[in-house]
Symmetry: C2
Subunit: 371 residues, 2 copies
């Protein structure tokens, strides 16, 4: 990955915005994979980027950072008692930030913490805004670069391998319970040199598939018994996650179960047919809403979302989105229509889509499996 090139893009933005220092933070309470995107450091760190184009990393675990991170210098976080304000105070010295300079802290900084920053670091102009560095990085990250697209091609092949194996093993009765399937995915993923799963696998047999995100995520109960079962999972390769959902339908099904399966498939195809450069994410999602509404159904979640170093990234395909996201080549995102009924169960079909100059490419092949 060309981390320097990515940082250059941010330095350029800082220059335009007249920001002298950007601070990013990734910790247990507030994950920010932007640090990984900019340096390769997998987590638990602060990152300071100065207008002089210097990247100072402050990792919790220096041993891990030495193996993974690309930056100009690093100092272990414990040297600042793991206190971000102390670290910022020191970074301004080390990076020679002049008094009165503009320092942008993470947009997710809690209000009480913001007051403390302003109080403890009085010689600088501390900025915290929604449309700032972090949201700019998120915009940059929407368009995957060639390295990232290569990773996604490899990742999708691995995901498809697992999808096929699951289908086969469920058909053959070798994977019987919700846990069997979740464990199979974890095991196969690590065997295929993946970092693991991108989020907790949701494996819900017919009794529990009414939940959008089943709780608990999986149990020792049977999977793929009579009715509709849902399996939602993603695996992580070089930090990037896939995100797919298969529905397993074991008959006999009721007429309305059949109708919903049909409707979800139609919704997926409809959405896919509208994917092209410049398309409005909101209007794609609204077209699916309209389709469902005709059959007196409604979907309680968004139609899709970008994927990358996080399982949910921009752009968001939502019918009630405030932001007007437009599709563009290089974007990788899910399309995942779903319908849920407290008695008849749920069904969802989710695949990962890459938009290229030549149009939509469906990277993964999850489907509704008939048993």
């Amino acid at each position: 990955m060309d981390y320097l090139k990515r940082r250059e893009k941010l330095y350029e933005w800082m220059d335009n915005e007249a920001i002298d220092l950007v601070m990013l933070q990734d910790n247990e309470l507030r994950r920010d994979t932007s640090i990984r995107w900019l340096t390769g450091q997998p987590g638990d760190a602060l990152l300071f980027l100065s207008s002089e184009k210097k990247a100072l990393l402050v990792p919790w675990d220096i041993n891990v950072a030495k193996l993974y991170a690309s930056c100009d210098s690093m100092i272990p976080f414990p040297e600042y008692d793991c206190d971000p304000m102390k670290a910022l105070g020191h970074a301004t010295n080390r990076l020679k930030i002049l008094q009165g300079a503009k320092i942008e802290i993470p947009s997710c900084t809690p209000y009480p913490d913001f007051l403390q920053y302003v109080d403890k670091i009085p010689d600088y102009d501390i900025i915290c805004r929604k449309e700032g560095a972090k949201s700019w990085i998120e915009r940059l990250r929407m368009i995957k670069d060639d390295d990232e697209i290569s990773v996604y091609r490899a990742l999708s092949a691995l995901t498809n391998q697992i999808i096929d194996a699951i289908e086969q093993n469920v058909q053959d009765g070798r994977l019987k319970t919700e846990t069997d399937i979740a464990m199979f995915i974890e095991y196969e993923a690590r065997k295929l040199d993946c970092e693991g799963t991108g989020f907790t696998t949701l494996s819900a047999g017919a009794e529990r598939s009414f939940g959008i995100h089943a709780f608990p995520s999986y149990t020792a109960a049977a999977f793929a018994g009579p009715g509709l079962s849902i399996l939602d999972f993603g695996i992580v390769y070089h930090g990037y996650t896939s995100d797919v959902t298969m529905t397993f339908a074991r008959g006999p099904l009721s007429k309305s179960q059949e109708a919903r399966l049909d409707l979800v498939t139609k919704a997926f195809d409809l959405a896919l047919s509208k994917v092209k450069d410049g398309a409005s994410c909101k209007s794609i999602a609204q077209s699916v809403d309209t389709l469902f509404k005709k059959s007196r159904c409604s979907m309680p979640h968004g139609l899709g979302h970008g994927i990358g170093l996080q399982p949910h990234e921009a752009p968001f395909l939502r019918s009630r989105s405030e932001e007007e996201w437009k599709l563009a080549p290089g974007m990788i995102f899910t399309i995942e229509p779903g319908l849920y009924h407290p008695v008849e169960g749920g069904c969802r079909l989710e695949n990962d889509i890459l938009l290229t100059e030549n149009g939509a490419e469906v990277l993964t092949r999850s489907k509704i499996v008939r048993l």
Copy 2:
């Protein structure tokens, strides 16, 4: 669980603080298990608590909430387009909050969002503070009630069962890789009716045990080869997590590896000997620092932390803590001294401790296993 009794404690605090409405939020970006503690709802919801003692839950998934949540009323979050500000606007009407009343929003609300709340809900006094409702609930949660202690006794028995099985299976060579062990834990946990693991299992063979939290968390590589391997895991029962770390030491070990194992064991015993009602968490942690310093070692993380619905809760046993936490009966927390070396590897020993009127009780039995 007596959710009503818990809410009563909060209503009492609201009365003292003259707060008319408390809003709590649990979502993907900012988890807050307080909602589960107060209602049983396992996640993804807003909770509004009024000074008139009414609890209004706004869950993302109404089907899941109907199964789990105890509250006075509920409205699905999608009815507000999953927008917390819209939901708050409506809650003030529904709960008949008078204009000018004090409304406390979550302490973790980002600064830019706080400005929006103030702007969009101008008729109320919007409060966001560090030492507010959320931190008060965290203080209440430090002292486990009888129901919670019963859960922890059962949970510890299950955790110990898994600890013993892992030791046996590693000794016998049946669990060979990092992934084998992580999968074994997941599988056994679900079989024992647990919700799953409390955090990603960290399973690091001798090549990777230098990391405080190994990255990736586990791989297909060998576990428990010559040298020091670390296994850090927790399982979840009725929402509550255990948190233990075993170290596996396969000889021949170097003198300094032996010395560090010895030191970590001594540190654990030293800390445990100081656990009693009224003891200062900071001074316990400092006594371990002093012990390590005598051998020219230092620990890059805290000595321990409370556990409960979250894997890291108050009180915190840290030598450089700003807050002066004192131990009290009903607290359940970890003691987890560890030392890490980039070449010789890491070792950590972590067990869960319950403090009762009669003193410290070590709930779990993880240990340094010699191979």
